[in-house]
Amino acid sequence: MMVALMELVDWVGLHVPALRRARTAVAMARSHLALAGCEVGKRVLVHGTLQLERHGRVVVGDRCVFVAGPFPTAVHVGRGGTLEVGPRCYFNYGAQLEVHDSVRLGERCMFGSYVRVTDAPGAPVVVGNDVWVAHGAVINAGVTIGDGAVISAGSVVSQDVPAGMLAMGNPARLMSQQLSSPGGDHG
């Protein structure tokens, strides 16, 4: 009943500008429910469904946003695993974070819809600040992504990506962001 009421306020707030604050309040309340037992920063917003399976440590920084959509965002943190999400990160719907060892996401990162991040024991994932991971990209275990890098849509990243680079393709290849054409096959 409570969840249905939240869904209703969320939907109305989306379409009625006067109720935006109510929508934000609901999203903040939902973050406390969805991320119960986690170390959650200030003003974290969970608009849609967030499926959390937590057996380890989860830290979510200030002002992170989880967006609503047709598919829920899923977070699985295995026993002894640690997920650290930096402040002001933005997750579109359908993102999947699977943590067995350690996944650290920097500040102001953007994750598109259906992005998947997974690590493995002994192969942690580190994502720097201001990284944009576009729709459908997959970040595999043991990968380190530098600050400001862009992972293009549909890429599968299995090797490290230096700061400020663009990774695209399957397996992902590196190129300069300055060389990426506006009409190119990036995401």
Binding site: W132, G154, N170, P182, G184, D185, H186
Partner: protein
């Protein structure tokens, strides 16, 4: 059943005859969405997303089939010709939403996307802004494409490379594909 399908598409400006919606369809934005005759939206496992921002136009041609998880996002114009088939989790969008270089939160200009008759997108394929896929183009699973592809060409791999599936088109020039 068809009445229920039309009810699920109540936010679309135009819905053709014999349209069938299985499961859920997620219609958002205040733009113009037109669904042609005999369209099948198969969202019984994962919802189908139809997103048209205010002022944008999203056209789904007659006889198109959209499988679960398909996402169509129009910020300006996205057009699917008749008989297109979009397999599971494929995506068509006419805007990158963020620029690669510069301020990430400034939305870049949109580029209309057109899929002509009989185009087929494989699972998890992604069609990017400015793409123009001519008739009977086949895009393989996981391919990301953002350019003009001539009729009858198959693209596979990522980055995509061309394969001709129609013997009568063997002499046709293949599209330029950046490595």
């Amino acid at each position: 059943m068809r009445a229920l399908s039309r009810l699920k598409l109540w936010r679309c400006a135009k819905v053709g005859a014999r349209v069938e919606v299985r499961g859920h369809v997620y219609v958002i934005g205040g733009g113009l969405i037109e669904v042609g005759d005999d369209v099948l939206l198969d969202g019984h496992l994962v919802p189908v997303e139809l997103h048209a921002e205010p002022g944008a136009v999203l056209v789904i041609g007659h006889g198109c089939v959209l499988e679960g998880g398909v996402s169509l996002e129009a910020q300006e114009r996205v057009e699917l010709g008749p008989g297109c088939r979009l397999r599971a989790f494929s995506k068509v969008m006419d805007n990158h939403f963020h620029p690669v270089v510069g301020a990430r939160h400034v939305r870049p200009p949109s580029k209309p996307v057109k899929l002509e008759a009989g185009v087929e997108l494989g699972e998890r394929a992604i069609v990017l802004p400015g793409a123009w896929l001519e008739t009977n183009v086949r895009i393989g699973p996981g391919v990301v494409i953002g350019r003009h592809v001539k009729a009858g060409v198959s693209l596979v791999g990522s980055p995509p490379h061309a394969e001709l599936h129609d013997a009568s088109l063997r002499d046709a020039s293949v599209p330029e594909v950046r490595p």
